[in-house]
Each structure stands twice: as structure tokens, then as C-alpha cells.
Symmetry: C2
Subunit: 343 residues, 2 copies
């Protein structure tokens, strides 16, 4: 693990390289977390470790725990969803063996590693670190809303699961390719494995949503960009409070609106219609300007995976004309035009 | 303790009568919680128990623990702020003695009763209940944003600590005096002692702010009003996420805006100006209508305690004319005109 100063506090990064634990995932979707990490941080992922009956494959070399340890793996990352909320014995023995072999263990499960009987004690005895990405363990201050140095971009959404993490990472990659100073700031468990640290903002105590986001994105160089992963939507009946605290804590200079054009209604609430894109931009800008009067929306990111290439191009073009903003599919086209729009 | 069905879940009410524990409070302000409970629920408060050097007095009969137990006290309520975040031995021995004498113990402290060494075990052994009002212990579902039967009024604010609880309780009292069906729904620790139950929404996990509020205010008779205590402000850099989730979870038919006219800036953030009242009403109405398109602001409640009677009357009159809404000081005038405005 490495330490980095973040304001007056120290943060601990998940050590890489990672061995990605896929367990006995019943399908590819169950390993979505691991898949995201392998896509965005291939250099950090030394291999995948799969149990018998594992139906997922994220395209890394298969390794046993022993092989991975010998190859230098420093953290076993549980990047898979377990079924029914409990861990089978075969998983637990694998996690214990990883500790024995010298690895830390990081998990994106709801269930805490530290709740496994004897597991935390064993890790402590061996000098290993445990990291429950869904569960913030540090204390945060309440948000102050004070100006911080450096630049910030936040991805916001019409809904949950519309490509905010993907868009954020595409923007970070494009900025780094251009030699700009940029850091992806993770606010969910997959993003935390990709960044090596971060905070699951939806899991902090409600009073500290904006404060946790301020901690996540401290003062920085004037030409440095934090690319902050958004969560939820101001228009989601379940999660809007998280989205608003994140918006305030981010004090973004720029927002990018993310949208999935085929979504029939807000995810999880079938009686709630999707908001229009302009309405969603306006609401986010109005709320953001409480903290940063210069917040502006610099573009839109559509997930057009359900469309053919020509259909996607037409949809992007139409949306761009309707809103008067650059509109891209970061997967098909990269984030170049979004970064251009910051200039 | 009594049980009440709340949807499919059971909630446990703090048993009364209460004995109010004031400890060795250094001044009257330290006993603000207990003072609020004694004001609004005098029939539930059998007496006050004060240690040597206690400088607070909430106007109840002084009683020893033994006298209170003999008089029928069922819960010792720690309605006082301790200094430095730790409990002196003299407090702990008092709390333990209360258990021995047959009382439950309820606390509004940040520190959990269940974190006191051996305290929870002792309570369990004796069959007593502990209630940490600042710390929700149940699990909540995420908010659904579905229409619930019954009527709801939420107090909202320009800032924190501007009279939302006071106004809510004044409205409940007025409704009950008129024979209307009404229940105050508590969202902070003082309110929880006053209601006998509730949820500290600022202490729930961020994902569940609106869900906890939905739990707090379940389906009810068509002519029943839940009067829901607001928290924070959409314009507060620290807490707006809590306020938005509470607004969505409340799905209010009516909101009342609360304001303290002498406040020079947002409390705790000296660089943040107070929002204008109309702007604050508009923002709350716009956000509330995501869930309930019929939300309307029915009036304004000003805390005019800093003004003379004639100054207060002029200020209330001016505000009423500027906003075109009934504007009252619930302390000076009661909430009659606010309840009239619902008609």
C-alpha cells in the first residue's frame, strides 16, 4: 500500500498489481466490477482467479493463488457479486489463502470482509490490509462549500447506470493522453478499484455527503483536473440526496450530462418518467451554482450501444443540435470533443 | 414500550413518563433538548434529575432516581449535551442505577449508550430497552417515490436552526386542538423524544434518506396529516442532500418555509449568503414536484424573537405582502393561520 497526503489526512491506496477473484460467478454480468477494472487498469491486473463452475471470463490469464503470489500480485480483488448475500466456504478459504500467501484483500461486496469470523484478526496477525470498497471507514467533516484550488469536472446523469463512470474514465484517459494533469476520483466500488482509492458516497452517513466529496477532491494545482464520478440523478426518487450532496461537494467547473436513450423510465421506479435532457442540465446547473457560480455544462455523453452506427450518429447529431452542446458516445468516439469543450 | 404497525414493520416507542436527566449541565443551553421535550410534552415529563453543579433547570420537579421510579417514570431521557464527547463516571452510574430501578434509558448524545462498556449487556439482562435517538438502528429500503394515502406537510428552511421543529409542533398542536387527525413526525433527536419515535435522517446511510422518510410517514387515513419536521436547507453547503432526500421522501402536499430574519449568513459557512425567501420557496417546490406535482407552499414561519412586538408585526406584514402568503411567528401567534391556509 502507498500513502498520499490528502489535505491534512492520509489516504491508503489499494496496492497493485491485482489478482481478480471471480469466484464461481454464474455469468459474465456477475463479474461486472472485475471486468471494469480489467478494462480500465490492464497494467494493474496480473491475472484472474476462478473457482470451478465459474462462468465469467474477463480476458486475463488464469492463475492460481500461488502462481499470482509468485508473479507479484499484491491484492486479491473480489470483483464479483455473490449470490444471496452470503459467502460460500470455497470463497472464504480462497481469501484466507491469499492472506497466507502475502496478499491484501479488497472487496466490493455488500458484506464486509471485517464481518467474516476471524478474518480481520488473521489479516492483522499477518500484517495484511483489508479494504471494503462499499463501506467508508474513515470519518469525514461536514461540507464547507469553500473554494478549492484546481479544476473539477463532474459527470451527472438523467438516471442511475447511464455511463457516468465510463464517461469520467474516458475523459481522464483523453486528458492524460494530451499530457494534461488529471485524476479520476471514484465514488463507487468499481471506480475505487480502478482509482486505487475513493469513497462510496452513497454509503456515507447522510450528513457527510458533501464533506466526503470535498475530502475526495482536495486543493490541487491550478491546471489540474479532478474528474469526479457522479452517482444517481437529481431526478431519481431514491437517490437524489446523494446526487445533490455530490454536486455541492464537487463544486464543479464543468459538468457532463450522461444519458441512456432507450431507458423507458427511471431505473427501479417504473412509475417515474425520465427527465428531459435540457431540464436535467438546468436543474444541475442551478443547484451547482450555490457553491460555484461558474459551473457550466460542457457536453453530453450518450450510451448508444443499442443503436447501429448510423442510427447512433443521427441520434448524437440531433441531440447536439437540440441542446447546442457537444454530444458524444464516449465508447464509440472517445471523449476528445468533451475535453476540447473545456478549452 | 409500545408497538405500532408502520407498514410491514414494527416500530418501538420510547415509553413515558420520562425522567429528564440534566447531568451537570454547565448552562441552560446544554439542556436544550430536555427543555424542548418538557415544553411540548409536559404530560410525559414526570420530573428532572440533576447532579451536583447542574446549572440548567427546565422547570420540572426535582426528583432522585428512586423518587422518579416510585412515581412511575418509565424512561430516563438524557436530554443534555455532554462536554468533550465522553461521559463522566457520575453520569454512567446514574444511567446504570436507572436500569436497576426498572427504567429504560434513551439518549440524544452523539456517543452511543450501546458503546458504554457492559451497559447493553446489563440492560439486556434486566430486560430494559436502550434508545440512541441520534443513531438509527433499523434497516430502511431505498425510497420508491410512490404515492401514499393521507396528507403531509413538511417544514423547510432557509437555513439550519430556524424553527422547523417548533413550527411543525405548533401546527400539530393547532390541528389537534381543532380535532383534526395529525401526527408530528420527528427527524431529529429532540423531536424523537417529543414524538416517542422517529428517525434522525441526517444519520442514516446516504442511499436511504428518502426511504427512511417514506418509512416515517406511511399510508394513512385520507384526512390525516403527517407534520414532518424538516432538516437543513436546500441552500446549505453541508446538508442540502439530506434536505432534498427528506423533501422527496415526504412527498408533501404542503410546505411551510421557516426563516430567522437576523441570520447574517448560512450557519457554519460564513462565506455563504442567506437565500431570498421566494427563491427558497421556488427551489423547494420545484424539487418536491418530482414526486408530488401538487406540492404547494401554504405559508411562512418567521422567528421574530429578536424583535419588539411592533417591529415583529411590521416584519410579518411586509413579508406577507411581499410573498402573497400567510406569514406568522408560531411562537407569538400560534399556527392558526397556517392551518387555515390548508383549507
Amino acid at each position: 500500500m502507498t500513502n498520499e497526503n490528502r489535505g491534512d489526512k492520509k489516504t491508503v491506496k489499494i496496492a497493485n498489481p491485482y489478482l481478480m477473484f471471480l469466484g464461481d460467478a454464474p455469468d459474465q454480468l456477475a463479474a461486472k466490477m472485475a471486468n471494469g477494472v480489467a478494462k480500465w487498469r490492464p497494467d494493474w491486473c496480473i491475472g484472474q482467479f476462478r473457482l470451478a463452475n465459474c462462468k465469467a471470463d474477463i480476458g486475463l490469464a488464469d492463475m492460481s493463488l500461488e502462481e499470482a503470489a509468485a508473479a507479484g500480485a499484491r491484492t486479491l480483488v473480489v470483483g464479483v457479486v455473490n449470490q444471496g448475500g452470503f459467502l460460500p466456504d470455497s470463497w472464504i478459504s480462497s481469501l484466507e489463502k491469499a492472506l497466507d500467501l502475502g496478499m491484501d484483500v479488497a472487496s466490493g461486496l455488500h458484506m464486509r470482509l471485517t464481518d467474516l469470523p476471524g478474518f480481520a484478526a488473521k489479516a492483522k496477525r499477518l500484517g495484511r490490509n483489508l479494504y471494503d470498497a462499499r463501506h467508508p471507514t474513515r470519518d469525514f467533516a461536514v461540507g464547507k462549500g469553500k473554494f478549492r484550488t484546481g479544476k473539477r469536472l463532474l459527470t451527472v446523469g438523467t438516471d442511475v447506470s447511464v455511463g457516468k463512470m465510463f464517461t469520467s474514465l474516458s475523459i481522464e484517459a483523453e486528458m492524460k493522453a494530451r499530457g494534461m494533469k488529471a485524476d479520476f476520483r471514484a465514488t463507487g466500488q468499481t471506480g475505487i478499484f480502478i482509482a486505487g482509492d475513493g469513497v462510496s458516497v452513497d454509503a456515507v452517513v447522510a450528513d457527510f455527503i458533501s464533506g466526503a466529496t470535498e475530502w475526495l477532491s482536495p486543493d490541487n494545482d491550478a491546471d489540474h483536473w479532478d474528474i469526479i464520478e457522479g452517482q444517481g440523478s437529481l431526478f431519481h426518487a431514491s437517490y437524489a440526496g446523494v446526487s445533490l450532496g455530490l454536486l455541492h461537494g464537487s463544486q464543479p467547473d464543468a459538468i457532463v450530462l450522461c444519458h441512456e436513450p432507450t431507458r423507458p423510465h427511471m431505473r427501479g421506479t417504473p412509475h417515474m418518467p425520465m427527465p428531459g435532457l435540457q431540464r436535467c442540465i438546468d436543474a444541475n446547473i442551478a443547484a451547482a451554482r450555490l457553491i460555484n457560480v461558474d459551473t457550466r455544462c460542457i457536453g453530453v455523453s450518450l450510451n448508444t450501444s443499442a443503436f447501429s452506427q448510423s442510427e447512433a450518429e443521427r441520434l448524437l447529431q440531433e441531440t447536439e443540435e437540440a441542446l447546442g452542446l457537444p454530444c458524444v458516445d464516449a465508447f464509440r468516439q472517445g471523449a476528445g470533443r468533451l475535453v476540447d469543450a473545456l478549452g
